[in-house]
């Protein structure tokens, strides 16, 4: 057990070291997009609008935090792993080492989780400054951490199964971008027709934004969404192991 934890940390260590060299640009670039959304949707389009009993700004901030956890965790894990696989080719060094495939997947997930957590908390702090009534409870933080971990695993999985930069960019445009806007981040899913609602509940970001919004606004917490999110995490982890076993010994 201790060896496994050490192995996971060793895999994480190199990404952490890398982040240490580039942490300023990594954090700043991950904040640009959510801050723009906050200004454009929170103040621009949503100024004066109310959703139920809360202002649109209070409604949208948890959605933008969910979105930040999604995009930063996913990209933080996927882009580093793709660089390791295709550009530096250093991923082979991991496969030749005695570290197990399980530890490799867990270790490679941690950098996305860390980067996602840092950026989400930074956006959350801005949100709390703008909207002090938001509740940042332990449940909110739990949902945020689970989201970052699951989205990071999603990034590792996609970086392992997509074998080219072109494929990755196609995936970003066809899956990631629509998820960004549609998964209940900027609007309530209650407004949508039933089939669209069902389709969006198949996507993990929907469950992250529902959980974070409920926790932040004091609504009844959707435990089922958190469980579904954890289920996605398990599925991505198994997917990573299957993808690695296909090629590696």
């Amino acid at each position: 057990m201790l060896d496994t934890i050490k192995d996971i940390y060793s895999v994480f260590w190199v990404d952490l070291r890398n982040l240490r060299h580039h942490w300023r640009s990594a954090i700043v670039t991950s904040l640009v997009q959510p801050l723009l959304y906050l200004v454009a949707f929170g103040y621009g389009l949503g100024g004066g609008v109310r959703i139920g009993e809360v202002s649109y700004l209070a409604f949208v901030i948890p959605g933008i935090v969910a979105l930040t956890s999604f995009s930063t965790s996913f990209n933080g894990a996927a882009s580093k792993l793709q660089i390791d696989r295709f550009f530096y080719k250093s991923f082979d060094e991991l496969l030749i080492s005695p570290v197990s495939l399980y530890s490799i997947v867990a270790g490679k997930t941690l950098i996305g989780t860390l980067r996602g957590s840092i950026s989400s908390i930074a956006i959350l702090l801005v949100g709390m400054f703008l909207m002090p009534t938001l509740e940042v409870s332990p449940l909110f933080l739990l949902a945020l951490f689970v989201s970052c971990f699951v989205f990071s695993l999603f990034g590792v999985f996609i970086a392992l199964v997509i074998d080219s930069h072109h494929g990755m960019s196609t995936f970003n445009n066809l899956v990631i971008l629509p998820m960004t806007f549609l998964c209940g981040t900027f609007f309530s899913l209650n407004e949508l027709p039933e089939p669209a609602k069902v389709a969006l509940y198949i996507l993990p970001l929907t469950h992250a934004s529902q959980s974070l919004r409920a926790a932040a606004l004091g609504y009844p917490f959707p435990w089922l969404s958190l469980l579904v999110l954890a289920g996605f995490g398990i599925a991505f982890f198994v997917g990573c192991i299957v993808a690695l076993r296909k090629t590696s010994v």
């Binding site: 940390y9 060793s10 250093s90 060094e93 496969l95 005695p98």
Partner: protein, 287 residues
């Protein structure tokens, strides 16, 4: 000598293409073995199968008595691998890359520090240890990749095309390093498409062509089978004919028997390129 790497009917298929086709090979402990062949001959695929990176389609490989598929962990403990592309994290320093490899190999902190310092000294990179890998010359990057692969003191070092892209000086420094590693007890398995590299370094050479091993012996024995002396006859600046002879006296007799207007005649020692061309009808660098 002890058998260290044993491949039996080793095969890798990609679709209908046999990248490696029924390879039987033994590499002995303590030797420098060279795999010679053009690009696409199956050299890298063979190394990837031997180093647990690619699953064989058929056949087996044992390293130090362990099967590379079923006992991959045991195999990984005794092998070091230097890939054709520099597989280091180029945004980190040489020391950071070495520390990463040492951590992956589960070396304890004190052991890590000692080993990193010893190895940097061994390859003459001590003063560049804290430079980013990206800022190093091609030869230094290659040496940095080698020290990372040596961090756990492997019994065999696999070098895939170790001198591709290096200048003459960098190439010779690397050859010296390979010889030194071998004389210090490391078995070396290298692939190359440079004839002179195989001749300069390897005790035995296997020649690969389209996934098959077409010749296997010491460079001298391979040349001797063909003839140690080559006579090139260049007819009208268009065509070159090659003849091979056991010694110079025989070659001279042949040259004297040629008509006086035959064209340019060159007498030289044969080399492994001649062996390859005669066996396959193609040039080693011809792809």
């Amino acid at each position: 000598m002890e058998e260290f790497i044993v491949a039996e009917r080793l095969t890798k298929k990609y679709g209908n293409i046999n990248a490696v086709d029924g390879l039987d090979l033994v590499v002995y402990s303590g030797e420098i073995f060279g795999f010679l062949g053009p690009n696409g001959a199956g050299k890298t695929t063979t190394i990837r199968m031997m180093t647990t990176l690619t699953k064989p389609t058929d056949g087996r490989v044992h390293i130090n008595g362990f099967d590379v598929v079923h006992d991959a962990c045991k195999v990984r403990e005794v092998i070091g691998v230097v890939q054709q592309h520099i597989s280091l994290d180029r945004d980190l320093t040489v020391r950071e890359n070495m520390e990463y490899h040492a951590r992956l190999r589960r070396l304890k902190p004190a052991e890590r520090k000692k080993r990193i310092s010893e190895l940097l000294d061994y390859v003459g990179l001590s003063e560049y240890a804290d430079r980013m890998v990206d800022a190093l010359s091609g030869g230094m990057k290659k040496r940095a990749a080698i020290v990372c692969s040596l961090i756990h003191n492997p019994k065999v070092l696999f070098l895939d095309e170790p001198t591709v892209g290096l200048d003459a000086q960098g190439r010779r420094r690397l050859w010296d390093l390979v010889r030194r590693l071998n004389s210090d007890g490391t078995t070396i398995f290298l692939t190359t498409h440079y004839i002179e590299e195989a001749e300069a370094l390897c005790r035995r050479v296997g020649i690969m062509h389209r996934g098959r091993l077409i010749a296997l012996d010491t460079p001298l024995a391979l040349r001797r089978k063909l003839g140690l002396i080559a006579v090139e006859t260049i007819v009208g600046n268009r065509e070159t004919h090659y003849q091979f002879f056991a010694d110079r006296a025989e070659a001279n007799r042949y040259v004297q028997s040629l008509p006086p207007d035959v064209g340019t005649v060159i007498i030289r020692e044969s080399n492994l390129e001649d062996v390859f061309v005669v066996q396959t009808g193609e040039k080693v660098g011809g792809g």
